[in-house]
Amino acid sequence: MMFCSIPDIYSSGSYLPVLLLLGLTVTFAVAMVVISRFVGRRILTKAKRTPYECGMTPVGAARERFPIKFYLIALLFVVFDIEVVFLYPWALQCKKLGLFGLVEMGIFMLLLLGGYLYILGSGALELDRGKIDDDPFGEGL
């Protein structure tokens, strides 16, 4: 077959096509932003430039402090996503590792389950109501 003569770099297993596609999509997206900058009319007034706040004059700065729970969610995500990442190599080899692998993975999951139960107990996932001490008005989110 003629395809045997094609250098490996263009075959569909290499990363070059991905880079080409990425280049195309980024170019397209940048072009869109640039076009909108130059084609549309721009008549800017002071009132138009005000950030939208339901027609009122904005109160205070927009980049306010926000509930710490978003930060907690991000932290928990790191822990559990790493658990998922650890599961991938085992899943690939699970037939070869057999029962031994499954039991080991079970122990790993049990350890994380302890952490998960602790998270549940500490109320980190109770997004509808804040803990009494850090949210005295019970505003939650």
């Binding site: 263009y10 940048v30 909108s36 969610i73 996932l125």
Partner: protein, 343 residues
């Protein structure tokens, strides 16, 4: 040289088809929504409103591109790019057909058949959350900031479920290559049938990951105006909009590839007729893939116009307290099931 040309051709074809699907998905969405609500939907621009996406696009281009006072101008401009590019790049590893005989050889209908396909999809696909966060923060608007925070928290929460739901598939196929997963389903029953729980988890997490109703809390209109893209207009807004629809297309393609047999069409593709006509078989596979994707996309739209929206704390509760444990249990059940012979 031929190889490079073929690769470029495939990239252009996939990109064009995706962009056209994005454009006409917006029309389909409005049409389906209208018929569900006993209306006609757009029907003035061309027959059956077929030129509506083009009219919309032109209108976007000629709209005023404005940046609110106090916004971070650079980040405000970068955000739509960050939201759009990853969603479109993910298409690179999805096998949209088997092979087509062309230029005296067999051309694989996939842009890049990476050995780490599944990981690539998750790594690149999850990058679009940066676009939403950046856009929301840069806008100097409270609604945009809250929308961005919610979007970030929601997307990272459901990514865990997304990752867990496909681990049984990797256990069964022993490969992260998407073409291997599709080939496995050509010889075995589809994963949709073998792993209904994993399928359900994956679909629910996909809805949350693409910010579609019933999980479109980041841009819930009654509370957050338009969420992270409140302060966007013109083609910058179109960038977010297209990014959302592109993410939906990628999600549908993934559901088809991982759970619904990819391009395989049972029984029909094994006919002797197709063994003699390789080109027709290749075309049949591409057609099957597109048809399955169409059904999936219709499902996305159908759900959006049928279900009410979750509340934010309900959404997070569902993700962390229901889907996450279910995902782990699913893996354990499937693990015991696979290894029952060796026990």
């Amino acid at each position: 040289m031929t190889g490079l040309l073929i690769t470029l051709g495939k990239i252009l074809a996939v990109f064009t088809v995706t962009m056209l699907t994005v454009a006409y998905l917006t029309l389909l969405e409005r049409k389906v929504c209208a018929y569900i609500q006993l209306r006609k939907g757009p029907n003035r621009v061309g027959p059956w409103g077929l030129f509506q996406p083009i009219a919309d696009g032109l209108k976007f281009v000629f709209k005023e591109d404005f940046v609110p006072a106090g916004a971070n101008r650079a980040l405000h401009a970068v955000a739509p790019v960050l939201a759009m590019a990853p969603a479109l790049t993910t298409c690179a590893v999805i096998p949209f057909g088997s092979t087509l005989p062309m230029f005296g050889g067999e051309v694989n209908m996939i842009i890049a058949d990476l050995s780490i396909g599944v990981l690539f999809v998750f790594a690149i696909g999850s990058l679009s959350v940066y676009g939403l966060i950046t856009g929301g923060w840069a806008s100097n608007n409270k609604y945009a900031l809250f929308g961005a925070l919610r979007a970030g928290a929601q997307m990272i929460s459901y990514e865990i479920t997304l990752g867990l739901a496909i681990i049984p598939i990797i256990m069964a196929t022993g490969s992260l290559r998407l073409s291997d997963i599709v080939a496995y389903q050509g010889a075995h029953p589809w994963f949709m049938i073998v792993q209904p729980l994993g399928f359900l988890l994956f679909v629910v997490a996909s809805f949350a990951e693409t910010n579609r109703l019933p999980f479109d809390i980041p841009e819930a209109e009654p509370e957050l105006v338009a969420g992270y893209h409140t302060e966007y207009s013109s083609m910058k807004f179109a960038g977010f909009y297209m990014g959302e629809y592109a993410a939906m297309i990628t999600a549908a393609a993934l559901i088809v590839t991982l759970f619904c047999g990819g391009y395989h069409l049972p029984w029909l593709e094994n006919l002797n007729f197709f063994k003699e006509h390789a080109t027709l078989l290749g075309l049949l596979h591409i057609g099957t893939f597109l048809a399955k994707m169409g059904i999936c996309l219709f499902g996305f739209i159908w759900v959006r116009w049928s279900l009410p929206r979750f509340r934010y704390d309900q959404l997070m509760k569902l993700g962390w307290k229901v889907l996450l444990p279910l995902g782990l249990i699913n893996i354990l059940i499937y693990g015991l099931f696979t290894l029952k012979d060796s026990i």
